[in-house]
Symmetry: C2
Amino acid sequence: MGTLRIMEDEVDRLIEAWRRERPDLDVAPMEVLSRVSRLARHLDRARSQAFDTHGLESWEFDVLAALRRAGTPYQLSPGKLLKETLVTSGTMTNRVDRLTARGLVERLPDPHDRRGVLVQLTPAGRDKVDAAMADLLTHERALLGGLSDDDQQKIARVLRELVRPFDLEKH
Amino acid sequence: MGTLRIMEDEVDRLIEAWRRERPDLDVAPMEVLSRVSRLARHLDRARSQAFDTHGLESWEFDVLAALRRAGTPYQLSPGKLLKETLVTSGTMTNRVDRLTARGLVERLPDPHDRRGVLVQLTPAGRDKVDAAMADLLTHERALLGGLSDDDQQKIARVLRELVRPFDLEKH
DNA sequence: CATTTTTATCTTGACGTCGAGATACTCTAG
DNA sequence: CTAGAGTATCTCGACGTCAAGATAAAAATG
């Protein structure tokens, strides 16, 4: 019986180089974490491509999706939005400005707090984000195509364990 | 016997919201891919923190590490460097400028091609990247702490399968 | 009530990246 | 040998983000 040939990827190349140069280090963590980082980068690009079809940028989708998830009437304050999307307030002001210019959201005064503003999805914005989301999921399903349902569940469980410490530590 | 309680993370929250708002969509891919993206973002921040100790920025480490991996005499052309670090040429020029100003690399003329330049690690640059790499791995090991070796190998194998299509598609 | 602290959003300037174009040199074909 | 194509690097203007600070309103304190 022959050895099972496992195909290499870029991270294998990376790790091999480090092992050669620094045999004193235990580079095992890279097997998991470097792959997570690289996969995420690839996913970002794939996402951008999927959104191109809809004339949307990734950052636009992020904002619209947060509003869409909030449910009717699809309103969220800028403060809530920046917590959801993990950007700073200056960035969010800029994003809402541009989305408003494109007619995908609008700014309303918060009736309960005169400092506040509510950002609301327009019907056009809702249509766009709904179409983009469906498309995104189709693409993502394709990327996972090779994986059995069982593998997907296993990896999801492990990833949840890895992410949780980060989700807990904040605020 | 009671139900095994699986703790929730932010992605569970996200998925739940989408299921509520769009029960027509199959959002299963998010279980894996959203977690990969979020984990990667957290890892970036953890990396930055680990490098802070050494007075290094993440982008600086990326360049120095590529040179370090190349082995003696720690030289790489800007072209090779930008393939390794996945940035554009304008960005690499800027990065090399700043690393040169910090005394961590130097620019040498390529003896075989007068258009070319070789970027070389200085001794100070090598010391910095070696220390930072050791530290980074220590931190990463801690992040993986909870995972059994078996789980680590399993997830690494699955991640490799997910990344490989991307690694292949680019010539 | 008046004062202070906190909260919510926007403004601004600095910075890093991108990407198109410029420049200089090398390689290939005839 | 020369013209044209290809390659390596740098230049530069546009853009998005960040982070500190400004402004305004609300909440807490006495």
